[in-house]
């Protein structure tokens, strides 16, 4: 009887230890599999963001190309025609009329080039900084009478130039989405933060989101996500009980603070 107890005891302890080892191996494999799946999803997400970024760049290039061709190109061609007709032997009345038309066209051409150039690199942002640039955008939209845009900011920190441009484009994208898709007549934006972190809140009284996943899949949102990702930032959609769209985002103010 003692023998059996001894064998049983030793075997039981051995099997318990063996069970522990097998549990460890199984659990470890599960953790590794989960890690691999997470890494794969992360890589797919990064690819998606990159694709969205490239698509957006191409779209922008096409738009600028079209603006230059249809706008500037056409006006310069017409100007050339007028200048061809400007001859010394033409009567002075006709000469003055042609000269005036040519000068007006040149003026329009310069405005078009200025507009395209502004789209490429906003002057207000360069000269006055992010807060003023956003305030400027808000004012311009409000002056149109179509929509009321309120912008509030107490932030007086410094921000890296690349991050500043990213934030400007994010706000541009949000305003563009708001105008095109939301049907809102009021937009509220707030910029806040510290020397290390910048926080931005956007709210409108439009139709809101059908679903968060649908919103995240849109090209505009993917662009925003991509830009935030570059700045190690994050965003989250916020619930709005009375309809509309609200989003909160934040990032560092520079690569050193990321």
């Amino acid at each position: 009887m003692d023998e059996y107890w001894l064998f049983f005891g030793m075997l039981a302890m051995f099997l318990l230890a063996l069970g522990l080892v097998l549990f460890f191996l199984t659990y470890q494999r599960r953790i590794l599999r989960q890690q691999r799946e997470y890494q794969q999803k992360e890589a797919e997400y990064q690819q998606q963001l990159m694709r969205a970024n490239l698509l957006s760049q191409e779209k922008e290039r096409n738009r600028i190309g079209k603006d230059l061709h249809d706008g500037v190109g056409a006006m310069l061609s017409t100007s050339k025609l007028y200048f061809r007709h400007l001859r010394q032997d033409v009567d002075s009345e006709k000469f003055d009329a042609l000269k005036k038309k040519a000068m007006n066209l040149l003026e329009e051409t310069m405005n078009s080039v200025r507009r395209v150039s502004h789209d490429l690199k906003p002057v207000v942002l360069e000269r006055l900084g992010l807060v003023e640039a956003i305030a400027n955008m808000a004012d311009q939209l409000s002056e149109s009478g179509v929509i009321k845009v309120c912008f509030k900011s107490n932030w007086v920190g410094q921000i890296d130039k690349e991050f500043e441009l990213n934030w400007f484009r994010i706000v541009q994208e949000l305003l563009s989405n708001g105008l095109k898709h939301s049907g809102a007549n009021e937009i509220f934006m707030e910029l806040d933060g510290t020397d290390e972190q910048i926080q931005f809140q956007y709210t409108d009284n439009g139709v809101g989101l059908q679903s968060k996943s649908e919103a995240s899949a849109g090209l505009g949102m993917q662009n925003i996500a991509s830009r935030l990702n570059l700045m190690q930032g994050e965003f989250e959609f916020q619930e709005k009980h009375n309809g509309g769209f609200a989003i909160k985002m934040h990032s560092a103010t520079g690569p050193d603070n990321a």
Binding site: D2, L6, M10, M13, A17, L18, V21, F24, L25, Y27
Partner: protein
């Protein structure tokens, strides 16, 4: 003890030579943890050889004093191995404390309760329990680590498994057999046979841990 047991015991004891020679031939390519395992294996081999010489050439079957020393020295080496592979402050504290406490206990046990003429089963049982604790700590540490564990490139996994399996079985043997079942020779032989089997298994795991080309 029966003839069969003696043959089996000799085979089991001789099996330590496999990891011993593996460690010798591969020493230059071993990592620091593997070198400590090699040291442990050599210490075990030397103890076995010394015991064998004592029995065969000096015809003195009392090899128990050797095991008093062996239990302490092997504890120090195994403690060093786990100290290298465990990372958290709490785990290291446990390792250091247990070394100090075991050394004090083992020496006091030899002086006060189980002198050199008697097998130091108390110290052996305590060391078995401590090794089981170290092994569980290692598995826990591996699971909570954010680095993946490739068991084909990790010698400590095999060493740890061997230590856990052997000591789980041996703990019960030394606890029950020597402390509660007195001079029952048949039972002792049965228990020791099982122990030799576990010993073979342990040496197998030692060999595996020394064969592996570990990541540096």
């Amino acid at each position: 003890m029966s003839e069969n047991y003696l043959i089996f015991a000799k085979i089991s004891q001789a099996s330590i030579l496999i990891p011993c020679f593996l460690a010798l031939f591969r020493f230059k390519t071993l990592t620091s943890e593997q070198r400590l395992i090699a040291m442990l294996v050599w210490i075990s081999s030397i103890t076995e050889i010394a015991a064998r010489i004592k029995i065969d050439f000096y015809e003195d079957p009392n090899t128990i004093p050797l095991y008093h020393v062996y239990v302490i020295v092997s504890f120090i080496v195994i403690n060093k191995i786990f100290r290298l592979v465990l990372a958290s402050k709490l785990e290291l504290l446990v390792i250091d404390l247990s070394l100090f406490m075991f050394l004090v206990f083992a020496i006091m046990n030899t002086i006060l309760w189980q002198p050199l003429s008697q097998l130091n089963s108390n110290a052996i049982v305590v060391s078995n329990l401590t090794y089981i604790l170290y092994a569980v700590l290692y598995f826990r540490s591996s699971l909570s680590s954010d680095q993946s564990l490739n068991i084909n490139k990790n010698p400590i996994f095999w060493f740890n498994t061997g230590v856990l399996l052997y000591n789980s079985g041996a703990f019960f043997l030394f606890l029950i057999l020597y402390n509660y079942l007195g001079d029952n020779r048949e039972l002792l032989t049965a228990g020791l046979t099982l122990n030799q089997l576990f010993n073979l298994l342990l040496n197998g795991f030692y060999s595996k841990s020394l064969i592996i080309q570990a990541r540096r």
